[in-house]
């Protein structure tokens, strides 16, 4: 017996119904992205309903972000994959798949009348054991520069092998490692600029040794300049308003107006003189430069680049070592940027500005080419994933083996542990091991191999003490991941297990879904 205490349009789902609806939602989402997992995973076409724009991708986070969902549990999964993207940059599919597999197992257990909290308890124990096993298997090559580079290269290759770039993964892996190494330990990916230009083929992409700014040089300025001394500025170069509040012009004759206009011009001229006093030959401004100051600067033989966006300016200051200036009265205090050569280059059909021989060089540019814009977009996402993982690996240098090897390792450790657990939670611990084993199974399934056969072989190999064994996706057999160089970041794998367990736990604990009446929107 109950009574309507909510708004008429509000709904409530209780106990079994609530659980059913959240499990169904989560499982559906898991199944959706499952087929994109691994090197032989498939792509999805996402078509926007409003603009009809098409997007081809196999990046879990991108797929999930574009789906409109109404299911609460599914939304939680989308959120973890987004967080995974922000935190590590890759493994967005794995985390969703693992969480949904954990829920699939939990659903069976609830069918067996096991209390949700008992399942949660079991999962917690199991994830602790799994993480411990993962940590034990991690290898740290951070001290040895040469080996670390190989590690990075392998990680990049593994990440890229499941993306559109897999054809040229060696090439792009090298490119990504070089780009990250250029940052000299910084992990701010904003400093790696990716310029996309349609045309050419994927392997025409390159890492520029200098820095490329997607802007054009002003008309009157020289197109090529050697030994540039650059002033990077963020200042308005139009009229430079009086900032005092309430100030306005009030004149009683046109003559006076003209005088004031002249004074304004004088002011601008003084500013240009101040800028020129820095002894520069290149002036880059974040904001627009109007015709008048531009011509003044050009007269002084200064190369002018206007309207460089915020990131552009910041990156430029990082590469050339100059500071971003806004006042120009104390030239001796302003650090100028330097580079050997500035020139206008053509990529495809567009003109860009290239700064080569830069002083500091803590930022770099990757130029991506590809036959279609979808291709270039997907290439960018893939490269971004690889770069994020690499930059995170520089911070946390430990690595683990991929190809289902780590999952099998964890699964076995959990399974062995399950035997020592007493009470009902042992069943949940076993279920956790099964869910982990699903990852290599899906990997094999996606490649069209006999997953039952392969995974059982893999499991046996691990019990046999072959801790490096994983799935060799090129031959459809078991191989040593160490020899094949299939390496993944430890941080990534760890985060996958943690996030998936936390999300699964959260969903298992729910027994009631209350949906408030949707807010009425004004008719469009």
């Amino acid at each position: 017996m109950s009574m309507q205490i909510f708004n008429e349009q509000a709904t409530e789902e209780k106990a079994e119904n609530a659980r059913l609806s959240s499990f169904v939602g989560a499982l559906a989402l898991g199944d959706l992205v499952k087929s994109t997992l691994g090197p032989k995973g498939m792509n999805k076409i996402l078509q926007s309903a409003s603009t009809g724009e098409i997007n081809v991708t196999n990046d879990g986070a991108t797929i999930l972000k574009s789906i409109q969902l109404d299911n609460a549990a599914a939304k939680i999964l989308v959120n973890i994959s987004k967080v995974q993207d922000d935190e590590v940059g890759d493994g967005t599919t794995s985390v969703t798949v693992l969480a949904s597999e954990l829920l699939r197992e939990a659903e069976k257990l609830i069918g067996l009348k096991i209390h949700p909290q008992t399942i949660v308890e079991g999962y917690r124990l199991a994830s602790g054991i799994a993480l411990e096993a993962l940590q034990k298997s991690a290898i740290d090559n951070g001290k040895d520069e040469k080996r670390f580079r190989i590690d990075l290269f392998n990680i990049a290759r593994t990440t890229l092998s499941s993306k559109v770039l897999s054809q040229d993964k060696e090439y792009f892996a090298n490119l990504a490692v070089d780009a990250v190494m250029r940052l000299k330990g910084s992990i701010d990916l904003e400093h790696i600029q990716i310029i996309k230009k349609v045309g050419g083929k994927l392997t025409d992409s390159y890492l520029d040794e200098g820095f490329i700014l997607d802007k054009t040089i002003a008309v009157n300025s020289p197109k090529r300049l050697q030994n540039a001394k650059i002033l990077i500025a963020n200042t308005s170069m139009d009229t430079d308003k009086i900032k005092i509040f309430g100030a306005r012009l009030k004149v009683d004759s046109t003559g006076k107006l003209a005088e004031l206009e002249r004074a304004e011009k004088e002011k601008m001229k003084a500013k240009v003189d101040a800028i020129a006093a820095h002894g520069i030959n290149v002036f880059v401004n974040r904001q627009l430069i109007y015709n008048y100051p531009e011509s003044l600067l050009a007269e002084k033989g200064i190369l002018v680049i206007e309207h460089a966006d915020f990131e552009g300016v910041e990156r430029l200051s990082l590469v050339t070592g100059g500071e971003i200036a806004s006042t120009f009265d104390r030239p001796e205090l302003v650090k100028l940027g330097r580079c050997e050569l500035i020139e206008e280059v053509m990529i495809g059909e567009d003109k860009l500005i290239k700064f080569s021989g830069v002083a500091a060089g803590e930022a770099c540019t990757v130029v991506l080419r590809g036959s279609t814009s979808q291709m270039v977009d997907e290439a960018e996402r893939s490269l971004h994933d690889a770069l994020s993982v690499l930059s995170q690996t520089i911070k946390e240098t430990r690595t683990v083996l991929g190809g289902g090897c780590s999952e099998m390792l964890m699964s076995n450790a959990v399974e062995t542990y399950a035997r020592t657990v007493t009470g009902k939670k042992a069943i949940a611990v076993e279920a956790f091991a099964r869910a982990l084993r699903q990852i290599p199974t899906i990997l094999a399934d996606n490649a069209g191999y006999d997953s039952g056969e392969l995974v059982s072989k893999l499991r046996a190999a691990h019990y046999d003490g072959k801790n490096e064994a994983g799935l060799d996706m090129d031959h459809g057999s078991i191989g040593s991941m160490m020899e094949l160089g299939v390496t993944e970041s430890y941080k990534l794998k760890r985060q996958v297990v943690i996030s998936a367990t936390e999300a699964a736990e959260m969903i298992i604990r729910v027994d009631d879904i209350l949906r408030a009446a949707p807010r009425r929107r004004e008719a469009v």
Partner: protein
Amino acid sequence: MSQLAIDPNSAVYTTDEYGRPFIILREQGRKTRAHGLEAIKSHILAAKTVANIVRTSLGPRGLDKILISPDGEITVTNDGATILGQMEVEHQIAKLLVQLSKSQDDEIGDGTTGVVVLAGALLEQSEALLDRGIHPIRIADGFDRACAVAVKHLDQICETIQFSSDDTENLLKTAKTSLGSKIVSKEHTQFAQIAVDAVLQVADLERRDVPFDLIKVDGKVGGSLAETKLIRGVLLDKDMSHPQMPRSVKDARLVILTCPFEPPRPKTKHKLDITSVEEFNKLREYEKEKFADMIKRVKDTGANLVICQWGFDDEANHLLMQNELPAVRWVGGPEIELIAIATQGRIVPRFEDLTKEKLGKAGIVREISFGTTRDKMLVIEDCANTRAVTIFVRGSNKMIVDEGKRALHDAICAVRNLVVDNRVVYGGGSAEISSSIAVSNAADEIPSIEQYAMRAFASALDAIPLALAENSGLSPIETLTEVRSRQVTEKNSKLGIDCNGRGENDMKKQFVYDPLISKRQQYLLATQLVRAVLKIDDVITSGQSEE
């Protein structure tokens, strides 16, 4: 109501174009009225519905709820106050219950589920009494007397626990009890430790006062719950205003400004007319001077970090950088206050007021970055005043971070309550069972019909251990009766429901505490509400105006 009776309020007398009079009556069909027993019963039903919703989240093995807001936002929680607060109840009595849990939340901060379950149970019991023809006011009186007995009994069975800033064992256990029912129980010990440390850091044990505004709970998605940290200082979701300012400042001396880096702006409306070139030039000079002057004033105080509530334009920004004054802009009001408290600096509203004495001091201010996005935060640590703390919650998704914050708030409240009043009763339903026995004994001595109401109160108290047992997957009635009889035969009021299956019913041995004031407040609030509901005997809903 007869057909002929005309309500003068809803009737309009008017004439048509020929001057013939007629009366327009507003439609009566939408107006509803419920009164007498019928009204009370429908209220009881509504209250029961609300109580039933939160009932399943009671106790360490209670389950969570997903709440979907009108905008599709998701909240996953098992905090009673949050559930009720966000479920957008429309029924008027249900709203009262929402208020009830909110006032428990405001006053005590914990036990918000328990109070609603108790109120629901009391109303359920009174329904049976109403059927027997007992007048609602007599029932309410009986409940009041029973409540007085129960509260007095709580005072008797409570125990004082000892703690000091060095011996936090007991505080930790209380925090653990409060956290036991939340999702953060995964990192149980760690969260309990954080809550206790935070409270002890800010608490004034002499005066038994815990200034809550010094504890800030902040969260960010990413990492896992285990990475949640207590920061002995202030955390700001901001970064330095210029990308080339230093990323960390040691031995920071902070200027805390609430005025923008702009030329002064009089409050009165004014206009400044520029009529000639000289004036224009003068104004230009003035502006420049003003900026230089502002920077100079800041620099003269010996400060090396500027915290500003407002923005400053590019020129000011660059000047600051040039003068080696790292700056943070757009810092919100509450944060500014917290920084001022933590660093013992004064908030300065005008540049003219800047003096050396007004600077805040902090050991280190540094920028930290997260993951692959550009998110940066500023940490101000080793402050002059060590009493301001920030708890920084991490978690793998947004919902878990939010729930983590709520759980910590509850735990902090539970610890605070102990600092304020260090008497505790034992949890796991033991206090309820014991009070229930006391109330039913007292009932026998009452000569009037209130006796029945008191017995009903005793049964209602049983609802809490019943729900606990049910949520833990135990057979509720069997478990309760066993514990109840053991309490009487062993004369041990600490026996409760063994929710976690540890094979131990003595709550003292399981270390399940609840602050006495929290329990007492629950009883008092629930009884008060029930009285209010029983006293309503007529509800008139006027027809909704048509839109």
